[in-house]
């Protein structure tokens, strides 16, 4: 793997793009016109080579007003997406405002889908504010800081999540701040040493 890291940018050149990558890129190209975003959770490890599928892509966004949401909603409908939780845009906006996630997929499909929610916790805000930028040949994606990603995956704690954490830890071993990972683990209350590998 050839990775170059420069400030907040992680350059990943010559990656063969999958249909999942295209799905994410297409959606983000619409979303970023309306608000800041950051990709969190499983897709981050998939982007950097983890060989597994996923049914949803988790995205955090800053709060937006209803008018902006309606424009975003209308563009998605126009571009043949649909919302899985509800059809009424006011109801969908209310779900976001109530701290719930809304799910969006290409019309008449359910997998894969985008799980979109507002930033809520302090760590969500750090994810958004201190995001990294994965720079691919033709596009870029805002992703959660890797140290936070690893700590959060350990916090979630399923086998799949621990595997994702280990994968990122191995791939970026030379670039990660152990101090930051442990700091985020402490905030999340993740016990050290009970997940099968050393940080």
């Amino acid at each position: 793997m050839e990775i170059e890291i420069e400030a907040e940018n992680i350059y990943l050149k010559n990656k063969v793009i999958s249909k999942l990558d295209i799905f994410v890129e297409d959606f983000i190209n619409i979303l970023k016109k309306y608000t800041d975003y950051v990709v969190v959770s499983g897709y981050v490890s998939i982007l950097f080579g983890r060989s597994r599928g996923t049914e949803d892509i988790d995205l955090l966004i800053n709060k937006i007003d209803m008018d902006t949401f309606l424009k975003f909603h209308n563009e998605l409908i126009e571009k043949k997406y649909w919302f899985l939780n509800a059809e009424n845009p006011i109801e969908l906006f209310g779900m976001l405002e109530g701290g719930l996630a809304i799910r969006i997929a290409v019309k008449d499909t359910v997998i894969p889908n985008i799980e979109l929610k507002y930033v809520k916790s302090q760590l969500d805000r750090i994810s958004l504010k201190e995001h990294k930028v994965a720079q691919l040949d033709m596009y870029s994606i805002n992703i959660s800081p890797l140290e936070l990603q690893i700590a959060f995956k350990l916090y979630l704690g399923s086998d799949k999540d621990i595997e994702d954490a280990l994968y990122l830890n191995e791939i970026f071993s030379a670039h990660l701040s152990r101090f930051k990972i442990k700091h985020f683990m402490d905030i999340l209350g993740v016990k050290r040493g009970d997940y099968g590998f050393e940080i």
Binding site: M1, E2, L12, K13, N14, K15, V16, I17, S18, K19, L20, D21, F23, I46, G49, S51, G53, E55, W82, L84, N85, R103, T109, V110, I111, P112, D159, I162, E163, L166, Y167, E170, I171, G196, F197
Partner: protein, 64 residues
């Protein structure tokens, strides 16, 4: 059978594989690992289209 022991063994084996796979990914050019990954993910992607899953059934499934 001690199921806890099995789970731990299973996770250990899976983590060993992740280490092995990550080591391989780090040693080959991006074109190589990503081509294999894209073929695998694309096949899952295509397969997902064959599910006749409605929005309602999907949401019910993930809420369980």
């Amino acid at each position: 059978m001690d199921s806890k022991f099995d789970r731990e063994q299973n996770l250990k084996q899976r983590l060993d594989f992740i280490r092995f796979y990550a080591r391989w990914v780090k040693t080959v050019p991006n074109e190589i690992w990503s081509k294999q990954q894209a073929e695998f993910i694309d096949s899952l992607f295509d397969n997902a289209k064959k599910f006749s899953l409605t929005r309602e059934k999907y949401l019910k499934t993930i809420r369980r």
